[in-house]
């Protein structure tokens, strides 16, 4: 093993939305930072435009990692059957692995969570069998950091339209995208129902911003890297800033194995395998874990020692529990005229009235139209369920209707279950010999009820907008996670029911922080990246002020 000299004050594991922000803020604040990332550069050249191997449709592979060297074990909650999965297989819960993480290839919907998203338990009560809880912080604690993320990452939106939120302190730095033809149709439907609409805020440049050009409205946004670098994430903002400071070293191809601790529980540093497969140990005063909700939990659980037999931060058997993502009930509407005007990125119209206050269900979701869908995704996921799967009729349907179908969908806030969890598989290891995760359990049944309610609202909206036929798959109980994975190291005041404190510091380990969606107590009824970043800014400030 190589024991590197320790020029670093902080090690950040994972260069995604959260890790990138934390590295940037700390490096600019004068800290010497080591940023470890198991993947590499995610740009057009590396991620390509394969319509069958991308972050939106991973039929045979992924375009943004991780590689096949990173298996996981998935346990079907119904049958108990365990299968070892490659990163592109159903159930793996893949998220991009590389510089920028998911933000290099995402859709960039830049929503803030709703104030009640932080107070789910006190708003609705805790259903039997659920671990639903309030966050230890509220919307007001995060608002200034949301604003900072919107400015520094670059978000296009209309603050005055965000009627479901308290007034913003500052406008978005860029005007929103224009309303598309599809959006105009959906707005007519919403008007007829009396539902207010919003143009979804996107972290995509509608004008030159941050030294990068305006969006060219291409058709390969979500799931792919931006061809002109106008889609904003940590890869083209905070990580370059970290590197430009001269105080951050970014090491790619670095696979973290374990955290090293002393007898008292103080974190000494991180052991990882470098790109050449050499085991390296690096020390620092502070370690931040930001590998995503599944890999962060894995690293903590794999850091067993005599003093910490269950792993780091896991004295109360909480690490890895409450895994959640978002249910995405989706209604597809077929219209009698072309709806899509050929322009990206796509989401043009949202409704936020069903985030909370829905009779008989807990929480809810924002609903919106979707990103541009490739022809093969339309074939696989949006075609009329009554259509034959081969023959002239199927071909004619695609030709006639590709531009006439649209989706309405929304990220349903999940009701967490303590049994939806990440543990360590006792048998399977990856190519470095590190035990892999075992994903098991399912969300709480209340999630399915809320998702069913939201599917009905999506159908209602498409009907009011004039769809001639509408279909969608009724939600059923399953394990969630995926690109919106969260919850496995949740924040809380009480170590018995949480993993980190209100500043995302692991209980019992003063110099260990979590900087990704793991800390979300609940995951909001919105896309989560802006909340991950807002928390990361807040955590970085806390580290700056305390170390």
């Amino acid at each position: 093993m190589t024991d590197r000299p320790t020029p670093y004050e902080v090690i950040v594991v994972g260069a995604g939305a959260g890790g990138g922000v934390i590295a940037g803020v700390l490096a600019e604040a004068g800290k010497r930072v080591l940023l470890l990332e198991r993947g590499g550069t995610l740009d057009l050249a590396t991620t390509k435009r394969d319509h069958l191997r991308n972050q939106r449709l991973s039929a045979y592979g992924v375009n943004a990692g991780p590689s096949g060297s990173h298996p996981r074990v998935f346990v079907d909650w119904k049958t108990g059957e365990a299968r070892t999965l490659a990163p592109w297989e159903d159930g793996y819960s893949n998220n991009a692995a590389g510089i920028g993480g998911g933000t290099a290839v995402y859709g960039a919907q830049a929503w803030r969570f709703h104030p009640l998203d932080f107070r789910m338990a006190s708003t609705y009560g805790v259903p039997d069998g659920s671990s639903l809880a309030d966050w230890p912080i509220g919307y007001g604690d995060l608002a200034p950091f949301y604003q900072r993320a919107e400015r520094e990452i670059g978000v296009a939106g209309d603050a005055s339209a965000m009627i479901h939120l308290p007034p913003y302190e500052a406008p978005y730095p860029m005007a929103p995208f224009p309303v598309s033809r599809q959006g105009e149709t959906l707005r007519r439907g919403a008007d007829a129902l009396g539902w207010a609409t919003i143009t979804p805020p996107l972290a995509v440049n509608t004008e030159p911003y941050g030294g990068r050009p305006a969006c060219i409205r291409c058709q390969h946004c979500i799931g792919f890297a931006c061809p002109v670098d106008s889609k904003n994430g940590s890869h083209n903002t905070l990580i370059p800033r970290a590197l430009a400071s001269g105080r951050c070293d970014l090491v790619v191809g670095a696979m973290a194995e374990r955290l090293e601790t002393d007898q008292a529980g103080r974190i000494l540093g991180v052991t990882f395998f470098d790109a050449d497969g050499q085991r390296v140990s690096v020390r620092a005063e502070v370690v931040v874990l930001a590998g995503g909700a599944i890999e962060t939990a894995r690293l903590l659980l794999n850091s067993r020692s005599p003093a910490h037999p269950g792993g780091i931060g896991n004295g109360n058997d909480q690490v890895g529990r409450n895994l959640q993502g978002h249910y995405y009930p989706t209604a597809v509407g077929l219209f009698s005229d072309d709806l899509w005007d050929g322009l990206g990125p796509g989401p043009s119209t949202a409704v936020t009235r069903f985030g909370h206050g829905n009779e008989g269900v807990i929480g809810g979701a924002m609903l919106a139209d979707d990103f541009v869908q490739t022809p093969i995704i339309t074939w696989k996921r949006r075609r009329d369920p009554d259509l034959p799967f081969w023959g002239a009729e199927a071909k004619e349907w695609m030709r006639r209707n590709y531009r006439r179908v649209t989706d309405v969908k929304g990220p349903v806030q999940e009701i967490p279950s303590p049994d939806a969890r990440v543990t360590i598989d006792p048998l399977v290891t990856d190519r470095w010999g590190i035990p892999v995760v075992r994903l098991s359990g399912a969300t709480h049944p209340e999630t399915v009820r809320t998702a069913t309610f939201m599917l009905d609202r999506a159908v209602e909206w498409l009907g009011a907008a004039g769809a001639v036929k509408i279909w969608g798959t009724p939600p059923s109980l399953a394990l969630s996670g995926g690109q919106h994975q969260a919850g496995t190291c949740r924040m809380g005041e009480e170590p018995k029911t949480s993993v980190t404190d209100r500043f995302c510091r692991v209980h019992g380990h003063d110099n260990l922080y979590v900087g990704d969606g793991s800390v979300h107590v609940t995951n909001g009824g919105f896309n989560p990246f802006l909340t991950i970043m807002a928390l990361a800014y807040r955590t970085a400030d806390h580290i700056t002020n305390h170390w």
Binding site: A59, I216, Q219, G342, I376, W390, M398
Partner: protein
């Protein structure tokens, strides 16, 4: 075009080279693909519109469809035993309909997979994008 003409054309096309399927099997597959995605006055069918190229390429080692490489020849030989490629389109459809509704679940599953492979090849082929209205501008 006669079978021998089709065979000679296939052997000339580099995109039709296969280490998995024999030329006669490729002729049969072409006929199947043209019933799954029939050619018409506006656009190509499966055999010339990308589905054949995709399936042949991805049956090779490391391809998307490599796990199916032993099943394709068996399926195509069975069809060809009944002279599939020489049948009229309506009769070909009847035979494929028999596969779709076969009492053998494995046969039904394979036909469904094959049809999906055809659609994957066809709708990921850029030549067919503007035909459905997917225009790439950047």
């Amino acid at each position: 075009m006669s079978d021998s003409e089709v065979l000679s054309q296939i052997s000339k096309q580099s995109s039709s080279r296969s280490t998995v399927l024999a030329p006669q099997q490729i002729v049969c597959l072409s006929a199947v693909l043209d019933r799954i995605i029939p050619p018409d006055s506006e656009s190509a069918g499966g055999s010339t519109g990308g589905a054949l190229t995709y399936i042949l390429r991805h049956l090779e080692e490391g391809g998307n469809l490599a796990p199916f490489r032993s099943v394709y020849p068996v399926f195509l030989d069975a069809l060809e035993a009944d002279g599939f490629a020489a049948l009229l389109p309506a009769d070909q459809d009847k035979m494929l309909g028999g596969q779709e509704r076969s009492p053998d679940p494995a046969a039904r599953r394979f036909f469904r997979s094959l049809a999906e492979h055809a659609q994957e090849g066809y709708y990921t082929s850029p030549a067919n994008w503007s035909g459905v209205g997917f225009e790439v501008t950047g």
